[in-house]
């Protein structure tokens, strides 16, 4: 009898292994582990798709259709930390065989989890997660819903799409060449891109800080009292259409672009001899601040 108990962990491990290996032969994988309702879930996969959804269940549930380059899927939960890693074959061509290994990973996490997702060419999608989120992909697109907590999304060449639900949050969205789109959000946004287009809707916005080298930047929404809007681009156009709770002071500068507005203020030359135009002034109470600067892009400001 004692011998049987001693053998029990080994038998369980063997059975678990059999389940996983059995899944591998069909290309499908399924596993569920208990998880802290407010813990951290870390997910990584190279290519294909990563879909994460929040649920009321205190468990992390993984379903995957594995590509041929996948060696195994690691699902571990320890304390308040759960990891889901898709591990490629060690000597395969998987690492540099981008896009050919189509692994589709679906992960259900407790809705209040903190989420940390990392993909390479994988498209990442997250919905229904209310905790803080950190989502990264190199060339894949990232699409996410925001809750009331911070969200940080980074992609090199993929596009970033984030949809809020009007709850104030702090958002950081960065790409190198991918476009950035934010809708129905509120709170603070810090965003940067080199050549992507930035389009952001914040209502209300407490802060909007945006930078690009050649990409256009558009902000639409409403400015909270004392809000701070600062957008800069070397060659891109900057457009801010924002109603405000208590007006705003504005300061617009461009070296070779045009300045237009919807309240008939006229831009003037920056200096007596040098090139450039500027437009300074105040709308309403002037409690918020709007600063738009570009070298060769056009500037457009409207208070409605």
């Amino acid at each position: 009898m004692q011998k049987t108990y001693r053998m029990l962990p080994a038998v369980i491990a063997l059975l678990a292994s059999a389940v996983v290996r059995g899944s591998d032969t069909t290309g499908n994988f399924e596993q569920e582990v208990a998880a802290d309702a407010k813990g951290t879930v870390e997910i990584s996969s190279t290519s294909g798709t990563i879909d994460v959804t929040g649920s009321d269940k205190a468990a992390v549930s993984v379903k995957a259709q594995l590509g041929p380059e996948v060696d195994h899927v690691e699902v571990k939960s320890s304390g308040n930390h759960t990891v889901v890693h898709v591990i490629l074959k060690p000597h395969g061509s998987g690492i540099f065989n981008w896009g050919h290994d189509e692994t589709h990973l679906r992960v259900q996490v407790p809705k209040d989890s903190e989420l940390d997702v990392s993909g390479v060419s994988a498209n990442v999608t997250s919905s229904g997660v209310l905790g803080a989120q950190r989502l990264r992909s190199v060339s894949g697109d990232v699409t996410a819903d925001t809750g009331p907590n911070d969200i940080e999304v980074k992609s090199v060449s993929g596009n970033v799409k984030v949809r809020g639900h009007g709850q104030p949050a702090r958002l950081r969205l960065n790409t190198v060449s991918g476009d950035i789109e934010l809708k129905h959000a509120a709170g603070e946004l810090e965003t940067s891109t080199v050549s992507g287009q930035v389009s952001a809707e914040l209502d209300p916005a407490r802060a909007f800080h945006a930078r690009s080298t050649s990409g256009d930047i558009t902000f639409e929404g409403r400015l909270a009292r004392g809000a701070d809007v600062d957008a800069q681009s070397v060659n891109g156009d900057l457009k801010v259409h924002a109603a405000s709770e208590d007006g705003f002071q504005y300061e617009l500068q461009t070296l070779s672009g045009d300045i237009t507005d919807c309240f008939d203020a006229k831009a003037e030359r920056s200096g007596e001899y040098g090139p450039g135009h500027k437009l300074d002034g105040t709308r309403g109470g002037g409690s918020a601040h709007v600063r738009l600067k570009t070298m060769s892009g056009d500037l457009n400001l409207c208070d409605r």
Binding site: H85, V156, V176, S192, V234, S296
Partner: protein, 191 residues
């Protein structure tokens, strides 16, 4: 309050005296001081000293500008946008950027990091997915062209604060991209 005290209280502006004479006439003393300064002044405004003063002012303006750029870079370094690495102070020494630009003191830490990132850039870009490679290279070209244009603009108008600010930010953005590319290539290897 006593009756005597009430008499001393001023009830309207009309009760105030029209003028208060000083105990002594101070004007002769002030006049003498002004005359003394006027005699000393011509020696300070000779053409040679005016030229020296102008040169000094130009150097002071140049030093102030370098100081402003240094402060901007330092602020950018302390509060990086999107986790950008250390920003630069030195420029690529574009010929059109003017002599002032060569005076910009190089931040050795930036130069070291930048050189290191540029050295490994080829390998890092090669490790990226094909879809990303061309886009990253195009973005780096965009940044290089933007730097070139800004430096050219500063060569024509060295005191332009807008161009200075955009140039410093573009250097920061270049470092951010190089850092992101390194992280992205590391992520590919790590998974």
């Amino acid at each position: 309050m006593t009756e005597q005290g009430r008499k001393g209280v001023i009830r309207s502006l009309g009760e105030l005296p029209q003028g208060i004479e000083p105990k002594a006439d101070l004007w002769p003393q002030i006049e003498a001081q002004i005359a003394g300064r006027a005699q000393a002044a011509p020696a300070e405004t000779t053409p040679v000293s005016r030229a020296a003063s102008g040169t000094r002012l130009r150097w002071l303006a140049a030093a102030a500008m370098v100081g402003c750029v240094a402060v901007g870079v330092w602020i950018g370094h302390s509060v990086p946008l999107g986790g950008a690495a250390a920003p630069p102070l030195a420029t690529a020494g574009h010929p059109g950027a003017g002599a002032l630009q060569t005076a910009w003191v190089a931040d050795p830490r930036y130069q070291r990091q930048h050189a290191e990132l540029m050295r490994s850039l080829g390998d890092q870009v090669a490790a990226l997915p094909p879809a990303s490679r061309a886009k990253v290279m195009a973005s780096l070209t965009t940044i290089r062209e933007a730097k070139h244009n800004l430096e050219e603009g500063l060569g024509k108008d060295p005191g332009n604060a807008l161009l200075q600010e955009l140039l410093v930010n573009t250097y920061q953005d270049e470092m951010r991209v190089l850092t992101d590319v390194r992280e992205a290539s590391d992520a590919g290897k790590g998974i």
